[in-house]
């Protein structure tokens, strides 16, 4: 008889991810992913000036602010057919990269590392042995005995106080945790250090975007940054130099710490390269444009069906006709009325029925590509790039596989990336790619300015007839697309198809699972009442329900517990 487990971290009003699984013989036999709240934020855009849309979309989500701002200006630019000056492309690219680096570091260390790292093992670690281990895998100069000792002391202080504080909710001592005390200490120390480097990445966003968390420098047709190398108030040599110095530190942390830690954890949990694959259809859009018209990119896009790497399809542009024509949203199992619709004609009429796993059970629609569920995110991007022979992707993917093999003594192949650990590895691979590209795009910007080009903006012109546009961005969580219909200089319709909608999608009319759901099937659970393994796989996608509302709940009702029904 199947056991039903619900992981529902909410009672506060934010929209949240809820996972339900059925467990038979200590393995997941069925799964449902649902979002518990949705608010139709897109409706607020109807009737507004398309040039202001990005200000509003930037408020969809406090984690993905710049991401929604960028997709929005691109959608309007696509509709109005306005090109973006080179400087503006580079500045936007740098903001997107810096934001993504921040996001990837936060995801690994703050959100998911403690799925693999057992805090309560740390007091047993030997800091000197930890240093020796660390030096054998990375040149990071802060892998010192003193730093390890200091981090261990912090954990000891928390543990001995009897107040676990931030660690209150962990599944410590779980049988699926099996790192040595030294590796636990190593990862925890980097969790502490990560704070400094994620902040530096955000500072880059702040310098170029003039503020964080909400950037101010975007405009349809370019950016609002004044470029003048001799002016103290404009983007000048000093500011470019500040960015260069900040990036240097962030790049070092990505390559010598984050990338290595992911490979080390992966090498020590090789069984997780066989768990959590799920949907093997992958979708990624090209990003980081290298010219004004958007005809060449530093990140490749395309799609892969059924895990057929050799049969990869390529998107030539970020608003490729195939992409434009192939996306629909199915609402069979979502709390909305209607039939599968293209986003330009998308409707959002709610029909709340309460959770019913056989019928409607989520506020997330089910986006489909040619009718198929697609996995999006760093894994999709890395596989699409790898399959196309993209040199930068191949460089870091091969480096990661080699590192896993060297540390763990296990054979590591690209095929293993279809897995829970594959998603973490791909995110680290992508982070290293982006780190290299950050420095490249800063140089491109600097060189272009040095050539005397200070142009940052092309004036958009509204046509008299109705126009449609799609703006895409390969965001930290995967393919994001904003779809806009403009009439009489006003927004007639607006839909955002966000990465977590692809991944957290419910079943569609044919009953096909979304990626979260499919990835959980067959996952072994050591202790069903402590479903750590479910969290590992769900976290590997980097879920983010883009419908955040933020009330503080003083009763602390946000206590999240897995509940067995």
């Amino acid at each position: 008889m199947a056991q039903r487990i619900t992981i529902d971290p909410i009672t506060r009003i934010e929209g949240h991810l809820r996972i339900d699984v059925e467990v038979e013989n200590n393995a997941v036999s069925n799964a449902w992913a649902s979002c518990t709240m949705w608010r139709g934020i897109e409706k607020i855009l109807r009737g507004r000036d398309p040039r202001d849309a990005w200000l509003f979309t930037q408020r969809f989500c406090g984690v993905c602010t710049t991401v929604h701002a960028m997709a929005s200006v691109r959608a309007v630019e696509d509709a109005l057919k306005v090109e973006v000056p080179l400087n503006a492309q580079y500045i936007r690219n740098l903001i997107l990269i810096a934001h993504a680096l921040h996001d990837h570091i936060v995801h690994f260390y703050q959100l998911s590392a403690l799925d693999w790292v057992d805090i309560l093992q740390i007091p047993k670690a030997d800091p000197a042995a930890t240093q020796k281990l660390a030096e054998s895998i990375s040149p990071w100069t802060r892998n010192s005995r003193n730093e390890f000792k200091a981090a261990q002391d912090r954990v000891n202080a928390v543990a001995s106080s009897g107040q676990l504080g931030i660690f209150m909710n962990g599944y410590w001592g779980h049988p699926a945790m099996h790192l040595s005390p030294e590796v636990n200490l190593l990862a925890f120390t980097h969790y502490v250090q990560a704070l400094e480097y994620q902040r530096k990445a955000l500072q880059v966003v702040g310098i170029l975007g003039s503020k964080t968390p909400h950037i101010q420098n975007l405009t349809v047709g370019g950016v609002a940054n004044a470029i003048d190398l001799d002016s103290a108030s404009a983007l000048n040599m000093d500011r470019l130099e500040m960015i260069r110095v900040l990036l240097e530190d962030v790049v070092k942390f990505i390559n010598e710490v984050y990338f290595v830690d992911v490979c080390a954890v992966a090498a020590m949990y090789p069984e997780w390269f066989k768990i959590g694959s799920g949907v093997r259809n992958y979708l990624a859009v090209p990003d980081l444009p290298l010219d004004s018209a958007g005809t060449s990119y530093d990140l490749p896009g395309g799609y892969i069906m059924d895990g057929n790497i050799a049969g990869v399809h390529t998107f030539k542009t970020a608003s490729d006709q195939i992409f434009r024509d192939s996306v629909t949203e199915d609402v069979t199992h979502a709390y909305y009325q209607g039939k599968p619709l293209h986003p330009w004609s998308g409707e959002t009429e709610p029909e709340f029925t309460g959770w019913n796993g056989d019928q409607k059970y989520s506020w997330v629609k089910a986006p489909r590509f040619n009718g198929q569920p697609m996995q999006v995110g760093p894994l999709a991007q890395v596989l699409v790039g790898y399959a196309q022979g993209h040199p930068l992707t191949q460089k870091y993917a091969n480096l990661a596989l080699g590192k896993v093999q060297a540390i763990g003594g296990v054979r590591a192949t690209p095929e293993m990336l279809h897995s829970t650990l594959g998603r973490h590895a791909a995110r680290a691979i992508r982070a290293s790619m982006l780190a290299e590209l950050a420095q490249k795009h800063l140089q491109l910007l600097t060189d272009n300015i040095a050539r005397g080009d200070t142009s940052v903006f092309n004036q958009p012109v509204f046509p008299s007839h109705e126009v449609e546009g799609v703006g895409t961005h390969e965001a930290p969580r995967g393919t994001l697309s904003h779809w806009v219909v403009i009439k009489d200089e006003k927004i007639k319709n607006y839909q955002a198809v966000v990465p977590s909608t692809w991944n957290a999608s419910p079943r569609d009319a044919s009953g096909a699972h979304g990626p979260y759901e499919a990835s959980l099937l067959h996952t072994p659970l050591a202790r069903p009442e402590e479903p750590l393994e479910v969290l590992r796989t769900v976290h590997s996608f980097d879920p983010c329900m883009a419908c955040a509302c933020h009330a503080f709940d003083p009763q602390g009702r946000q206590i999240a517990k897995a509940k067995i029904l």
Partner: protein, 185 residues
Amino acid sequence: MRKVVIGGIGNVLLGDDGVGPYVAQLLTSRYEFEEGVEVLDLGTPALDLIDQLSGKDVVILVDSVQTDAAPGTVLLYRKEEIMRLRPAMRMDPHSPALVDALFSADLFGVAPGSLLLVGIVAETYDTTCSLSKPVEASLGKVIAEILGELDRCSIGYRLRAVPAIFGAWWATEEHSEARMPVTAA
């Protein structure tokens, strides 16, 4: 120079949840503060809230609150009370917000010296850029509480002779600056 943050938290597209950012814009427009004081519209931060809290001497946050009290009621919470709550299970990056950010900052040894959360009980979280009447009516009291905290900490501020630009670009006409209280209630 002391490092002080006054931060408005919330989603400006979701009714009364926007009260925090709204108050931040109101303060910026009407008051000048001593050096070292930052007034920030923080939106709906996740763990990056740690960056805003860490290493600060005084933090004042404004956020909507979900309780059974009447809408518009202003409630105050100190750091110690907030840290008696449990951290969230981390399902997505929004889960670890204020409580977790404080715990993390504390673990890393960078928690702010003092923290006051000025909470306003919301009436509605509907998709709108407007504040409800009860929340709008509470704004004077909210500002008074913030200024009172600055007084308690001997942090200087003064009313601007001429208001600066009101930055709440999202606000609907009914919440344009003209109808807002000029000084604290």
